[in-house]
Symmetry: C2
Subunit: 226 residues, 2 copies
C-alpha cells in the first residue's frame, strides 16, 4: 500500500530487499500530542511517516524550543541514530494523529548489508542532510530574524524539505520555534515585512507581495525597514 519506491532511501532497491524491508517494518500509531521518541533515549530506529504530521525538535534547559522539521507523509526521520545505533539526536512528537513505519537499528543494518543500492542511497541522503544542516547553521550565524523569516516565506531551499507546511498556516509561536526565537520577535519582524511591502495581508492570511524583495532581504544581512 505504501509506495516504498517513492521514498528516496528505497528508490530502485532490489525486490528481495524490498520484501525484506516490508517484513522488518513495524506499523505504529500515535495520538495527537504523543511523544514518538525523546532526545537522548536509546535509538528508536528508522521512521517513515504514513499519515499525520510530526514535529522534530530540540529543547534547551529553559524550555525554549527549536523545531528542526515538520514532516508529512513519506518523509522519514531519525536516519542518523538508525544507522549508528546511538541515542536519538532530537525529540519527535506526533502533532496530529500519526501512523508510521519503524525499522529497528539492527534490521536496518542487516538491510544495508544485503543491498548495495540501499547503502548507496543512504550515503547520498545523509550527504544531502549534511548540506541542509550546514545551511541552517549559516542561517543562525549570519542572518537576522527578518532575513530568516523572509527565507521561510520563500519556502524554498532548505526549509521546503523540512517544513512541509506552508508558513501561512503556521502560528507565530510555531514560526518562532522554527527560526529559533520568540513569538513577539516574529510578530515584529512580520509587521516589518508587511510595512516594507514585501508581504501583504489578504483578509486573514498573509501572501507574498514582492518575491524579489524577500529574496534580497533573505540573502543580505543588512536589516532594512521598520
Amino acid at each position: 500500500m505504501t509506495d516504498w519506491h517513492n521514498i528516496p532511501y528505497f528508490a530502485n532497491i532490489s525486490p528481495s530487499a524490498l520484501s525484506q524491508l516490508q517484513t522488518y517494518a513495524h506499523c505504529r500509531q500515535f495520538q495527537a500530542g504523543a511523544t514518538i521518541f525523546a532526545e537522548g533515549d536509546a535509538c528508536g530506529g528508522f521512521f517513515i511517516i504514513v499519515d499525520g504530521l510530526v514535529r522534530i525538535f530540540r529543547m534547551n534547559g529553559e524550555g525554549r524550543l527549536h523545531t528542526l522539521s515538520l514532516l508529512r507523509p513519506l518523509a522519514s526521520f531519525n536516519e542518523v541514530a538508525a544507522v549508528d545505533g546511538h541515542c536519538n539526536p532530537f525529540n519527535a512528537v506526533a502533532v496530529t494523529q500519526t501512523t508510521v513505519w519503524v525499522i529497528s537499528h539492527a534490521h536496518l543494518i542487516s538491510l544495508l548489508a544485503s543491498d548495495r543500492l540501499l547503502l548507496q542511497n543512504y550515503v547520498q541522503q545523509l550527504a544531502h542532510q549534511n548540506r541542509d544542516y550546514l545551511e541552517r547553521l549559516e542561517d543562525m550565524t549570519f542572518r537576522s530574524i527578518p532575513a530568516r523569516l523572509a527565507k521561510l516565506f520563500l519556502h524554498e531551499t532548505t526549509y521546503a524539505e523540512h517544513i512541509t507546511e506552508p508558513p501561512t498556516k503556521l502560528t507565530q509561536e510555531e514560526i518562532a520555534a522554527i527560526l529559533g526565537t520568540t513569538r513577539e520577535v516574529v510578530g515584529r519582524a512580520l509587521r516589518g515585512l508587511l510595512n516594507a511591502g514585501l508581504l501583504r495581508k489578504k483578509g486573514r492570511e498573509i501572501v507574498i507581495a514582492d518575491r524579489d524583495g524577500l529574496q534580497r532581504l533573505a540573502e543580505t544581512h543588512p536589516t532594512a525597514e521598520i
Copy 2:
C-alpha cells in the same frame, strides 16, 4: 607512507581497495594562505591532510567569517561534495604550507562501489558529521557567547574533532570566527570568564581554573559573570 588505516573512512578496507585508493589519490601542495577550493565551485573531491593546517569556513556577503573547522594531518574534508558531486559547501584554505591527497568524485564513487566496507564506513562517518552539525546548530540557537566560549575551552565533544588546535593557541580573531561573532565580543567574554575565576592567566597564556564551572556555564543558558 601515509597510514591509511588510521583514517576512519578507510579503516579495515580490503587490500585491493586500498591499493586502488593509492592509485587514485593525487598529491597536491599549497602555500600558506593559498585557497584549496572555494564554496560553490565544482566539486573538488575528497581531501586528506598529510601535512599542514587547513581552515574550513564560510563567509557572508559583508566579509564576516565562520570557521567550521581547523584541521591537522590525517583529518579529511569535503566528504559531502566528494560523494554527491555537487558544488563545495564551504571554502578551504591552507593556513600553513600544506600537503594533501585528493581523490576525485568519480574515483571515490568507483571505490565506494567496489568495497562495501568503505561504503559502510562512509555512512557511519556522515552520520557522525550530521550529529556534529546538529550540535553546532544548537550552540548557535541556544547558547550565549560566553557559553560557547566556555565550551570551546573545554574543547571536548564537537569542537575537539573540528578544531584540532588548542583554544589557547588561537587569537581572539580566530576564536571569534569559530564562535560566529566578532573579536571584541570574544575579548569581553574572555574577561568575563577570567573575572568569574573560570579561567586564569598563567603569564601569557590562559589556562582552565575551574573546569566544573566552565561546564556549568557551557550547559545552561543563564549568563553569569563579570
